[in-house]
Symmetry: C2
Subunit: 259 residues, 2 copies
């Protein structure tokens, strides 16, 4: 039997709230067995950019990563947020190592091709090189990834943290039984967006298609679920969506996704 590996992704809302982040890190440090953390950077980068007089450009509601915005992302995600998390986890006896996708050449991406919108320095992952990463995990290190990749030609690229988490899980599923945790502010996938008591406890591919048909799932959740089923279709064992409570050993209130 393959050993198990937990890949946990936390979103911007947890990172922005110091107390929530501290609470999260205690829970994360207590997860048994091999584990990896993936974090976004959220609004910290936007507020830092503002302080530095850098304007955030939006096209069709989506943020454009120009050269200056990329610099801010590298400073905040790769520097401040990543290293602060690592130092805190170290204090919790969790042997964390902070990584961008450029480190040890682990996450290779291409700059997103310009079609109707030029997103700038945004990366679409093309491959995950697992050799060094497997070595880290096997020797008891806990990789902490920020949302950056590189193109192998010297360019860092801003990369969606959800995708980094799922691509890492997929790449490591040959060696490990992987569980992917998407940790956000809601207790799970809700059948009624207005009620936190409406967590759907289990979704498989069949019920997923029914939910799509019924249009009961919130808009923002759709790409997340698509990403989850993509991971499951590519050998990831299980995906869990919920708030940080789901990391507690006996927690039951969250959504589990399987094929």
């Amino acid at each position: 039997m393959k050993p198990s590996l937990s890949i946990v992704k936390i979103g911007g809302n947890i990172i922005e709230n110091e107390k929530e982040l501290a609470r999260f890190m205690i829970l994360f440090s207590q997860i048994e067995g091999h584990k990896i953390l993936v974090h976004g950077g959220g609004k910290k980068a936007t507020s830092m950019a503002e302080k530095m007089g850098i304007k955030t450009t939006m096209v069709k509601g989506r943020r454009i990563t120009d050269r200056k915005s990329l610099e801010v992302a590298v400073m905040i995600y790769g520097g401040l947020v990543n290293k602060s998390i690592v130092a805190t986890l170290q204090a919790l006896s969790c042997n964390a190592i902070g990584l961008s996708g450029a480190d040890a050449g682990i996450i290779e991406a291409v700059k997103r091709p310009v079609e109707s919108v030029d997103f700038g320095f945004v990366g679409d992952i093309v491959s995950v090189h697992t050799k060094a990463l497997l070595n880290f995990v096997q020797t008891g290190l806990v990789p902490v990834f920020c949302a950056l990749s590189h193109d192998g030609k010297g360019q860092l690229l801003n990369t969606n943290a959800d995708t980094i988490a799922s691509e890492l899980a997929i790449a490591l599923s040959e060696e490990y039984t992987t569980t992917l945790y998407y940790c956000f502010e809601k207790p799970g996938v809700l059948s009624d967006v207005a009620s936190d008591n409406s967590v759907i406890s289990h979704i498989n591919k069949q019920t997923y298609y029914s939910l799509l048909k019924e249009q009961t799932i919130a808009d923002g959740m759709l790409p997340k679920l698509e990403n989850c089923f993509y991971a499951l279709d590519h050998s990831v064992h299980k995906v869990c969506i919920g708030n940080m409570q789901m990391l507690l050993p006996h927690s039951t209130t969250y959504t589990t996704l399987t094929l």
Copy 2:
């Protein structure tokens, strides 16, 4: 015989000049065998702090690292500078991995005790934990350290890059024959500060004491040399001081220090 390991430290002057840094990285990537890079951050942090409206406090001519300045150091040294170097080295087929001293718990320090001056969040190294680091080097990774350590209790600390380089070299000298390169803008230790043609090609402990007596060495060089002989006294094989040309295989114009 122990395998050899080169530890190269580059100063702020190289980092601030994009062309110089690019040239340096080509030379560094061509060093044969195991290697480690240590970089400072220099004036980039100061200019970033200015942009963000953070005042740099100086006491008795020395910079104080308050909480805000530390944040800037973590963003710039640990984020922007470190990850940019890593991405560039990756493009040069050098399998770099960016690290702070908190990552994998490698460099543990204590916040400098307050005596006549409170330097703030500045770390004095107490120990180097080599287990993970040896594994990285042995598996062909090239660690790139920024000038940050941690106290093991969750606090990151600004730490002198020269000292990080020498402490890493000392800690790894049990397993490797270590050469420590201090790479700066001058071609070596000069017997006449006004002339770049006055490089002293070799200094041992005896000639070092003579030079101290004669007061021929520039003030700024004294703590550097003290640090070098400390490293040599603690099993480091050789220390070289010069500009980046010294990394060329057949270079001769630089200062070599041995016991």
